[in-house]
Amino acid sequence: MSRPGSGARRHGDPRNLISIGDLGPDVADGIEEVMRLTDSFVEVSERAIPKVPTLRGRTVVSLFFEDSTRTRLSFETAAKRLSADTMTFSVGTSSVKKGESLRDTVETIEAMGVDAIVVRHASSGVPRQVAQWAEASVINAGDGWHEHPTQALLDCYTIRQRAGGVAGKRIAIVGDVKHSRVARSDVGAFTALGAEVTLVAPPTLLPPSLDGWPVKVSHDLDSVLASTDVCYLLRMQRERMSEALVPSLREYTALYGLTARRADLLPEHALIMHPGPMNRGVEIAAEVAERQGAVIVDQVRNGVAVRMAVLFLLLGSGTEWGGESDR
């Protein structure tokens, strides 16, 4: 049984990173490999000149059908620090608006001779479709409710960096799991590495079926916090209010927000994480985001090094995910 978010592939996809399940026949090995490599890129990032010539002459295209300046900048910074050329295919000003089909767009980009396409789309599955039509490596930068694998990798790296490892950690993922690509990738990655994951959300914000998800579920945040090593808060979208999924933001915050009072229930060592951008005062109280243990800024910082590692593995290493790593 494949894990949540692992999509169709039980075996890794050696060319692309679309789902956490693409990281190899043994997902945990694949994640460990990315994390080890990330160490090297963290070292590169700390240098006076944080740049290596590794991907000179390679071209990485950002194909963002959905705005996300943070993620796009993180990928483009990663590519530039590897000396790759970067291009942005800005959908807002392109022929996509004029009704060009997804496939035509991809084939146009391919014809320019690119090595990697970083895809973001509001529809689940688009990166998988793009990969079918493209020779280039495809990296999923977030698709619909499906997956956001590099976010999960940087989350794993941040937990490893700040808490020594992911295995055995009790991780609570709190909030709108149903509509969250981050949650799907995180559940796949955290559980592959041996963490105990508890989803904490109202039933309306959980996926309709959790068959095959190796997680526990709770609707009572207070009772979970005391035995939590990592409290991972998901962004609460305001538009969920109009869909009758929760009565009001106020009630959501009252039941599921990490208020200062609730944060005090967490063990001293607990980490507080959020994929950003935060709705301060909704899923997380403003002062909680600043407290000891909140590693939200570390997540962003590690994002660049993790994405360098992913780009290097796909374009520069000549290895395949989880294949013979020749270390």
């Binding site: 490999e33 490599l37 160490d39 090297s40 590169v44 006076a48 590794t54 374009l315 000549g318």
Partner: protein, 188 residues
């Protein structure tokens, strides 16, 4: 180098079919001491000298050279390690991941860097290392120490300190280990 070379020179990850010991552990120790003396002599002491071992074969040799220098001169020379995986000229062609995180002790501006590797072969690794070093500052000079120079250079690179010059065929494999140096043939 040898470690990496064995896995990365076709046939990758092969098995030795015939091997001859060309240096014993004692030979290596004597060569290390000689090279240490040469480093001191060439640099008129150890002022500003930094040893940088290349991952992975050069790292233990750099440590042993540093120990020899300490015993001879009573000075602790800074030792670092460098992985050239991001600077290779065959990226994407061969499967190579970094062995370890590069660790350079401080800014190299004005220092004399002695690069240390186990085997000098085509010179491509040293070329990559020279590129990498420039990202850590402008060294006053860069010198090269290797345990074995087996020839077959593809670039204009020459070692400053050599443990042993060893004529080889291109398809032979040189294996530098803690207990000695072997020359042999390999099959997949």
């Amino acid at each position: 180098m040898a470690e990496r070379e064995r896995r990365l020179t076709p046939p990758y990850g092969g098995v030795f079919v015939a091997r001859t010991r060309v240096m014993s552990a004692d030979d290596m120790q004597r060569a290390t001491w000689r090279m240490a003396h040469e480093i001191i002599e060439r640099n008129h002491g150890l002022d500003g000298v930094v040893l940088i071992g290349l991952q992975t074969g050069g790292v233990p040799l750099a440590a042993r050279l540093a120990e020899a220098l300490r015993q001879i001169e009573g000075i602790e020379v800074p030792v670092g390690c460098l992985d050239v995986a991001f600077y290779r000229d065959d990226i994407g062609l061969r499967p190579v991941l970094p062995e370890a995180v590069t660790d350079i002790p401080g800014d190299l501006d004005g220092h004399t860097v002695v690069l240390v590797d186990d085997v000098l072969f085509t010179g491509r690794t040293i070329r990559a290392a020279l590129d990498a070093l420039t990202d850590y500052g402008r060294a006053r000079a860069v010198q090269l120490a290797v345990m074995v120079d087996r020839g077959h250079r593809e670039l204009p690179i020459r070692p400053d300190f050599v443990g042993k010059n060893l004529p080889t065929r291109r398809d032979e494999v040189v294996d530098v280990a803690a207990d000695g140096v072997d020359l042999g043939e390999m099959v997949k």
